[in-house]
Amino acid sequence: MVRSALDQVALELASITKSFGGVHALQGVTFTINKGEVVGLLGDNGAGKSTLVKCISGIHAPDSGEIKVNGNAVFINSPEDARAVGIETVFQDLAMIPEFNIVQNLFLNREIKHKNPLLRWLGWLDTKAMTKRARKSLNRLNTRIPSYKEQIHNLSGGQRQAIAIARAVNWGADIVIMDEPTAALGVEQSAQVNDLIKIISSQGVAVLLISHNMQHVVETCDRAVVLYQGRSVADVAVAEVTKEDLVGLITGAKKIAA
């Protein structure tokens, strides 16, 4: 499946390196993601995928290399920095507050405040407005939710994933990074998440998807970038390769000039 990419580079990584003491986790990672494109980030255990994601989302600072967002070089030193340039990360544990309901989680630390200036200054919450916006953004993603007052720990894994993705795109993110979004999900719920990814990419969002599931990659991604021992060793259009090719690249059995 080749979607017409908007041909505008959303995220550009050039020669990213990162070491932990003697462990050279990243030794030169280079690739780009266009707007509206879904790129799979593949690699064996320990290849450096999570480390790369942490460098992009502000949890680690890379040792060297350049990150460009929409053509501008950016320095990402904290999760807030990442967010400020339009990068949102859906973490593997989804970063939800189990005791909070859906709306409270969606708007965590970005609460809509009351219109009255005094109440606004106090930080008074406008729950009605938040519920309304929550409904809108979940509808936009075709997600059905029993009740917006439902606490997160009463939701299914797929629903939680949907909330986490909705939270990311709700904030006008241009780039959404997902770390194994379907790892803990059943067949049907995985399909729902795949649909969600397609919906947000069709809205122009660039998606970086980490996955060990080749089926999932083939179904959702436009391109795949393969990391091998901390280097980006392949950058292929998914439509032009087979699942076996991808596995070969991941294990290092097959080589393509990156």
Binding site: P79, D93, M96, F100, L108, N109, E111, G123
Partner: protein
């Protein structure tokens, strides 16, 4: 699915909520003593006013402790802060006016809270151990400060504002309870600050990932907790016309029991101010009822312990079964 089944399910959900538990036990205890003590003055409005007045310092402490628990901390130093704040306030009153004395006393709370918070964050040690330590330190300072002497308060305005006065036809101690409880309720339920407190207690990693300043939020919560205790010290001093190092000494257990039974999680993430207030009144009612029934203070202490264990048992069971 009809509207009726939905509302029935919702009703059932509300009725089985952990937060609702305090209402049942409150009602049950009230009924128990009302029957047991039917030929005494137990079930009179003036007796209840008395209970509310007497428990006002406890209620304020319970409200403060709710903040510490909301972020997942415990604060064992609150009882000792009560004594030191009361003594500092009473001593300052001998030399200056009410405003400075009150500020001085409240600063005791702010300082202890700040120290608690900084130590916990810097050393990455549990709040249980740190506040146990500061409890010892603050108690020692309070005993040292006046060589175990009481400090009388003769300032009538002070005892009016923090003890025997009335505003808007209501005892000033009830007024303090309503004001502090109301503010705390609004902060925890209506303001973004409360949302962040509970988020930090519920899942600190998620809170941090969403950009909440976890360390700072925890610090504020501990300051709130011990500043409330400092205010409780002033209320004791106002009601008793003086301060003594023993003030607040026996309150820690009562306050923790009150907050826990009121539906606040001892493990962070869930807080219930109304429950904390009702919980402290419940402790007051139990004390009052036990006294009227002729039980000794020792036996009251046992009763408080039992209630705490009960509340904790419920809380832990809930935690395990999600």
């Amino acid at each position: 699915m009809s509207i009726q089944t939905l509302s029935f399910n919702q009703l059932k959900q509300i009725a089985l909520q952990r937060e609702a538990f305090i209402y049942y036990i409150f009602f049950f205890v009230l009924l128990f003593f009302a029957v047991l003590l039917h030929d005494t003055a137990f079930l009179t409005l003036s007796n209840f006013m008395n209970i509310v007045k007497q428990t006002a310092p406890l209620t304020i402490m319970a409200v403060g402790l709710t903040f510490a628990l909301a972020v997942g901390h415990i604060d064992l130093s609150i009882g000792s802060v009560v004594a030191l704040s009361a003594l500092v306030g009473a001593l300052l009153l001998q030399h200056t006016g009410i405003p400075l004395a009150v500020i001085g006393a409240l600063l005791v709370g702010v300082t202890v809270g700040l120290i608690n918070g900084l130590l916990i964050e810097r050393l990455q040690v549990s709040s249980l151990l740190i506040t146990l330590g500061t409890m010892g330190i603050v108690t020692g300072i309070a005993r040292q400060l006046t060589n175990l002497e009481s400090v009388p308060i003769i300032n009538q305005d002070f005892t009016f504002f923090f003890g025997s006065g009335k505003v808007l036809g209501m005892p000033i101690l009830l007024f303090w309870t309503v004001v502090i409880g109301g503010c705390a309720y609004i902060i925890l339920n209506k303001l973004s600050a409360g949302r962040h407190l509970l988020a930090v207690g519920g899942n600190p990693f998620a809170a941090r990932a969403m950009g909440i300043k976890v360390t700072r939020v925890r610090l504020y919560a501990l300051i709130a907790s011990s500043t409330a205790a400092a205010l409780a010290g002033l209320l004791y001093a106002g009601r008793l016309h003086g301060a003594r190092y023993t003030l607040g000494e026996a309150d820690l257990l009562t306050v923790i029991a009150a907050v826990a039974i009121g539906g606040t999680s001892l493990f962070g993430g869930r807080a219930c101010i109304i429950g904390a207030i009702l919980g402290s009144w419940l402790m007051g009612i139990i004390n009052n009822g036990l006294i009227l029934s002729g039980f000794s203070t020792n036996e009251q202490m046992i009763a408080r312990g039992i209630i705490l264990v009960m509340a904790v048992a419920i809380g832990v069971k809930e935690l395990r079964h999600g």
